[in-house]
Subunit: 350 residues, 2 copies
C-alpha cells in the first residue's frame, strides 16, 4: 500500500514520527508492504515552495491509499497580510481529493474520565460519531468585499446543493447502521434557507433508504447545549461544514483529552486523510513532550478505513488503551503527575 505522511508544522513531525514507527512495526509483524513517502504541507511548504500545498505534495497524495497528516500552522505564518496561510493547504487538500466527509469519534477513555470538564454521570458512556460535511458550505462559497458609502462590506456565501447533502448524509446513515442505529441531523432551518434544503434532503435520504434508523433533527444552537447536558443521547450526528467545525471542537472537550482524538476525512473513493484533531501546538514544538497518541490512533483509523486492515487497527487501538490503563501519561494528560516524552510514549505503544 502507498502511504503518504504529511508531518506539517509545530509538533507535527514529532508525532507523525511515532505513528510511522507503529505503522512499520505493524507492516513487519503482519507481512504488509507499506511504501511510505513524506511531503510538505502548511507553513513548512510555504517556506520551501511559497505554497501551502504545492503540486509536488498533492501528486503523490492523489495516488496514495492513505494519507497521515500531523498539523499545520504557527505564529510564523500568522501575518493577516501574508499572501497565503498554512490553513489554505488544508482546505485545498480536502477539496482537491474530494474529502467530503469528516468523521470524528468522541469516546472517552475510562482511564481518563476524571480529566473531563463534565461531571462523571454526564460523560460516562458517551459514544458519538460526528460526520461533518467538509468540502462545501460557507468554507467554499463565493466571498467578496467592497467599498460602499465610505465603508467596507464583506460577505461569504453558505451554499449547499442536494447532491452534496445526500452523499454526506449517506455516509453518516451507513455508519449509524453499524452502530446504535440513531442518526441526528443538525441545521438552522428556522432561520436559513440553505438549512431548509439540508433538512428536506436529509429527511428524504433517510426515509427512502435508511428507514431502519431512529432519525431526528436538532437546531445547531440547541445541539451546542445538548452536547454538554446530555451527550449520551446521541449516536451519529451529521451536519454542515461550519456547524461541524464548531460542534466537533466543542465535543472534543468532552473526553478531557484532546491529545487522544483522531479524525478521518473520506471521499467517494480515492485515499482518505487521517489526522489528530489537535493543532500544531507551536509552544511545545521541538521539546519532545507532545502526545503522539491521537496521531497513532489516526494511523489505526487509516488502516481500518482505507486499507481494510481491521485486525491491525484493533491491535493499535488496544495497545493505546492498555498503555493508558497502565497509567502512562504525556504531560498534557498527566494532571501534574509523572509524564513521558513523545518518543517514550511511542515506545510504550510499540
Amino acid at each position: 500500500a502507498n502511504l503518504v505522511l504529511l508531518p506539517g508544522d509545530g509538533i507535527g513531525p514529532e508525532i507523525v514520527a511515532e505513528a510511522e514507527k507503529v505503522l512499520k512495526f505493524i507492516a513487519s509483524e503482519h507481512g504488509h508492504e507499506f511504501d511510505i513517502t513524506t511531503g510538505e504541507i502548511g507553513g513548512c511548504a510555504i517556506d520551501a515552495y511559497g505554497d501551502p500545498l504545492p503540486e509536488k505534495t498533492l501528486e503523490p497524495c492523489r495516488n496514495a491509499d492513505g494519507i497521515l497528516l500531523g498539523a499545520v500552522g504557527g505564529p510564523k505564518w500568522d501575518d493577516p497580510n501574508a499572501k497565503t496561510r498554512p490553513e489554505v493547504g488544508l482546505l485545498k487538500i480536502r477539496k482537491e481529493l474530494g474529502l467530503f466527509a469528516n468523521l470524528r469519534p468522541i469516546k472517552p477513555y475510562a482511564a481518563l474520565i476524571d480529566a473531563s470538564p463534565l461531571k462523571k454521570h454526564i460523560i460516562e458512556g458517551v459514544d458519538i460519531l460526528f460526520v461533518r460535511e467538509l468540502t462545501g458550505g460557507i468554507y467554499f462559497g463565493d466571498s467578496r468585499s467592497w467599498e460602499e458609502n465610505g465603508e467596507t462590506v464583506a460577505t461569504n456565501e453558505m451554499t449547499y446543493r442536494t447532491s452534496e447533502i445526500e452523499r454526506v448524509v449517506r455516509v453518516a446513515a451507513k455508519a449509524a447502521q453499524t452502530r446504535n442505529k440513531h442518526l441526528t441531523s443538525v441545521d438552522k432551518a428556522n432561520v436559513l434557507e440553505v438549512s431548509r434544503l439540508w433538512r428536506k434532503t436529509a429527511e428524504n435520504v433517510v426515509k427512502k433508504d435508511f428507514s431502519d434508523l431512529k432519525y431526528d433533527v436538532v437546531l445547531v444552537d440547541a445541539m451546542a447545549m445538548h452536547l454538554i447536558s446530555r451527550p449520551r443521547d446521541f449516536d451519529v450526528v451529521v451536519t454542515g461544514n461550519l456547524f461541524g467545525d464548531i460542534l466537533t471542537d466543542e465535543g472534543s472537550m468532552l473526553p478531557g483529552s484532546l491529545g487522544l482524538l483522531p479524525s478521518a476525512s473520506l471521499g467517494e473513493d480515492g485515499p482518505g486523510l487521517y489526522e489528530p484533531i489537535h493543532g500544531s501546538a507551536p509552544d511545545i514544538a521541538g521539546k519532545g513532550i507532545a502526545n503522539p497518541l491521537a496521531t497513532i490512533l489516526a494511523a489505526a483509523m487509516m488502516l481500518r478505513h482505507s486499507l481494510n486492515l481491521i485486525e491491525e487497527a484493533d491491535r493499535i487501538e488496544a495497545a493505546v488503551e492498555s498503555v493508558l490503563n497502565a497509567g502512562h501519561r504525556t504531560a498534557d494528560i498527566a494532571a501534574g503527575g509523572k509524564s513521558l516524552g513523545t518518543v517514550e510514549m511511542g515506545e510504550k505503544v510499540l
Copy 2:
C-alpha cells in the same frame, strides 16, 4: 414609563404574568408610574392576525421605554410549508427596532452550582457577558434557492459592514470597562472574508478608543472548547449573529439552570427588548409549573438598562437570589426534590 409586555406562546403568558406582578409591586413601592400594555407576537399573533408581528403589536413597541417578551413558537406552527413562522416575528422585531446588541450574562448562582454539568472547580467564579450582534450577518443576508442540473441549490449570505461591527464592539467594550476590563472578540478569520473584516474593524475600535482593555481574539471553534474547559478566563465576549447564537446557547448550559438566564437586546436609542433565554416549552405550557425567574430577572434588566432604575433592579435580583438561597425551587431546578409552581415562585419573590 411605557412598558409593553409580549407574552407570546407556550409558557410565555404564565411567566410574564409573574414578572408583571413584580413590576407593579416595584412601581407602587418606589412611586413610579408604569403604563403597561400587552401585545401579541409569534404563534398567537399568527392565529389572530396571520402575521407573527402585526403592526398593531409593533406600533406600541416603537413608542415604549421597554419591552418584556415571554417566548415564541410551538409544534402548532412548526409546519415547514407554512406561509410564516413564529420566529419570523422575533427576527422582525429585532430588525425593526434596531436591536443590534444582544447582552447575555452567564453567571452561576452559588445555590445552584451543583446543577452545572461542569465540575465545580471549572464553573466556580465564572462571570461572562456575551454581546451578540443581532441584526446583521447570515440572519439578514440575501438568500436564494434555485434548480440547477436537476438538483436544488440554496444559499445564504453572511454579510457585515464596518459600521455594524463597530457599533456592537463599542457596546461590548464599554461594558468591559465597567467590568473586568477584558474583551474577547470571536470570529473565523482563518477561513471567512467577512470574519477578516470583523477582526480588523474590532481591533481598530479597541486600539483607538479602548486601549485600557485587555483585548484578544479567539476563533469560534476554539471558543466552543474554551467555554467548557476554562470559562473563568473570559469577561466580555463579542461576536456575530450566528456564532453568538451557538456560543450563547452553549454558555447557557454552564450554570445548570436555563430557567434563570435573562437577556437584553439593545439599540442605539429607543426601547430595549428583554426576555428569558429559554424557549416556549410547549410540553409544560398551561400546567403552572414553568420557572418565572428568568423572566423576572429580564424585567430587572429592563429597569436597569432602559429605565435607569438601578436600585429597583438590584432589589429584584437580590430577591431572586435570596429565594434560591432559601432553597425554593421550581421543577426544572429541583433535581427531583420538592418544587413550587409558577405562581408560588412568583409570590416568594414578591
